[in-house]
Symmetry: C2
């Protein structure tokens, strides 16, 4: 009967009805004897509407002001949620990120949490309140400016608060029933995962699974905060993410946790790079200086006759233009022939700690792809993951083939049930 | 070329176009060599929309959470305005009421400013920024909770900041050209007032003139901050409110500043009150304990035969129900016969410092009303104001008659020109 942190996404509080439904769920948790801290996102499309307004007044909104603008969204949802809870006869107080002690660095629009000092939250709880906290936002340590944490930031707020308050669990409420063995929109027979280790969840998140963001899982692992991903509509048990299965739940760790895919990346190939020390470093320095995150890197075997090689890497499509520009600028200094840009690629990843002890996994993975007629362009591996890049058009078929080949398909013929009655 | 505080109301920043127009005006002021602090209200109908949302989740929203909700409105408008200014090539930073150092008491929804500590604003100005401040909001001194200042609170924010920063002038931008000798919607020949003293403006505001709120004018008088009320659409000189006419402007103080009217009040008559010491005190203590503001009070001459008298007073209609309830509760203790409630009344007030030295004003006022066939129910006077209560239906006719009788009608036949192209 300890402290529970619950996070509700924008789709769960999209309108007054949603807010009232969520309020009832929160009150039920409180009635069970828990102290409850709730992290809430902006209502439904609020954030998109605010972004649209910003674009109408300025083509390049300043980061500081953009954050000031966006944080209005959670301010609205959290105040309404607190009102709805009080209307059910329970005490509630809402807190901005700043009031909740979410201290960040000064990188507007994608700030990182560097400390959490939840003194006011602790006081509110001790006085019998349910504490409602604005997700996605904080205050910068040096300038005391309002910051936002970037996409999925509310999940990170929830986990960070759970860690600072030593919570029993951080419940992430969403509009699906949990984490699945593959994206249920692609694989009808995908199964809900009852429990998954932090490590496997990190790899799935890094490989394109959208349910939890990498940063949030990383934070939870560092402070050993169990995450329970579940539907705000159904009330069913969802997916537990933790070091070990919870309590007396007997959950055997699967050899393979799931198949993730990602079509948000593009591939850049740097053609005709002199094959000598320092060339790759120069290329990736140019890209890194522009704060572009690259994912996979492959260097071809050098052609002995020319002494030239090609280097390919993948990166978010959104950063493709910038990377090309930066590389063109550095072309003289680096000395390559040309650049090729390809945004019609997709990535399929197989994740599971069981790979470490099952050497046949890689072979089975390639065979499944080959049987499905999928051509492989790049390969990268970690201890518990293997990823390939294919044509974007082949991705869905590849995911389904791999899912079946590794015995992940659900026995049921039914499509996965979403808890939602809408978004 | 000192510091100017400008306040823009919700109608001036109702949409992206409005925000861009206001941004341009602000930049022009900055280019003239001024330091500029801007106080901004929420966009157009934002506040009403937020109130509507609150009512959907709770019939009686908690004050603290209601303030948290409403303050999202200025957060949006101020961030967008700062972006729009930066887009014109000037530096701007937005600040919440709390960040701007607007310290209030803890009375949610109608907090009073008790201190202004604008250290961050001063720093932003010294660094060459235009400072944009959220109107209407502050932070409570004891609990550090977000508060709002109630209706017209943004004007008060502007004047309070102007005082704390020792500004040259506080410009209040609105959708009319200034303060008029009467409400132009009622009196077509109403004239814009070029200059009016704090004292007369206070009386007009207290008597129903909506352009500036009483609290704001009071604050400006206390700190001797000249207010310039003007249109954000036209760019014309508006109305100066100050101790003395500005600079070398030769403006003669009129005998009569204007005619105000108010149909927002109701009248309660307490019938059959024993005419003995302490009775009136008991009645008004009951009402005051419920934090109801009463306006005019009239006690009838006691009828010698019964030893009973009637006491009438006016109060905001919105508080009528509460006052009746409180008085009914105290009926036994006070000892009166019955209560009469009348919300079909109106009040007409004639305001002007010239009254002090022109004893004929009162007689002329009553004659004008009598000639117009308007019956008078209650009378109250101050040194520079005389007010009467009439039937609500007679108010417009009474205002026009008095306006004409005191020679306030404009020579022009044209209706007053509003600067706005819409709200």
């Amino acid at each position: 009967m300890g402290l529970v942190v619950q996070k509700y996404g924008g789709s769960s509080v999209a309108d007054a009805e949603g807010i009232k439904r969520v309020a009832k769920r929160i009150v039920d948790t409180k009635k069970d004897g828990h102290q409850v801290v709730v992290v809430v996102s902006a209502m439904g499309d609020t954030t998109d509407e605010l972004i649209d307004l910003a674009e109408q007044v300025s083509p390049m909104p300043a980061g500081r002001e953009f954050d000031m603008l966006l944080t209005a969204g959670e301010r609205i949802s959290m105040a309404l949620l607190a009102m709805a809870i009080k209307n059910l006869g329970h005490e509630a107080q809402s807190f901005t990120g700043s009031q909740a002690g979410v201290i960040t660095d000064s990188v507007h629009n994608k700030a990182r949490i560097i400390d959490v000092t939840p003194g006011r939250i602790r006081t509110a709880l001790d006085e019998g309140n349910i504490a409602i906290v604005a997700g996605f936002q904080g205050v910068s340590q040096d300038k005391k400016d309002i910051t936002t944490l970037g996409r999925g930031g509310s999940d990170t707020t929830a986990v960070a608060l759970a860690a600072a308050l030593d919570a029993e669990v951080c419940e992430i409420y969403t509009d699906v029933d949990g984490v699945f063995t593959a994206d249920p929109r692609v694989v009808k027979k995908a199964k809900k995962i009852d429990w998954i280790s932090f490590e496997d969840m990190l790899e799935l998140a890094a490989s394109g699974s959208k349910v939890l963001l990498h940063r949030c899982v990383e934070y939870a692992r560092r402070y050993n905060i169990p995450i329970h991903v579940r539907s705000s509509f159904s009330g069913l048990q969802g997916t537990w993410v933790s070091n070990e299965p919870q309590g007396d739940r007997k959950v055997e760790q699967a050899i393979i946790s799931g198949v993730a895919h990602d079509t948000s990346e593009a591939k850049i190939t740097v053609v005709g790079v002199p094959d000598k020390p320092g060339e790759a470093a120069a290329i990736f320095r140019a890209v890194a200086d522009a704060e572009i995150n690259i994912d996979m890197i492959v260097q071809n075997v050098s052609a002995a006759s020319t002494g030239l090689t090609d280097i390919s890497f993948t990166l978010p499509k959104a950063e493709g233009r910038k990377a090309i520009d930066e590389l063109e600028k550095a072309k003289g200094a680096i000395g390559f022939d040309s650049l090729r840009y390809d945004d019609q690629i997709g990535k399929i990843s197989l994740v599971g700690a069981g790979m470490k002890t099952n050497p046949g996994v890689t072979a089975d993975f390639f065979k499944a792809l080959s049987d499905a007629g999928v051509n492989i362009e790049l390969i990268s591996t970690s201890e518990i993951r293997i990823s390939v890049v294919t044509r974007a058009d082949d991705v869905n078929e590849a995911v389904r083939a791999v899912h079946t080949a590794f015995g992940l398909d659900s026995d049921s013929d039914e499509a996965v049930v979403y808890g939602g009655t809408g978004r």
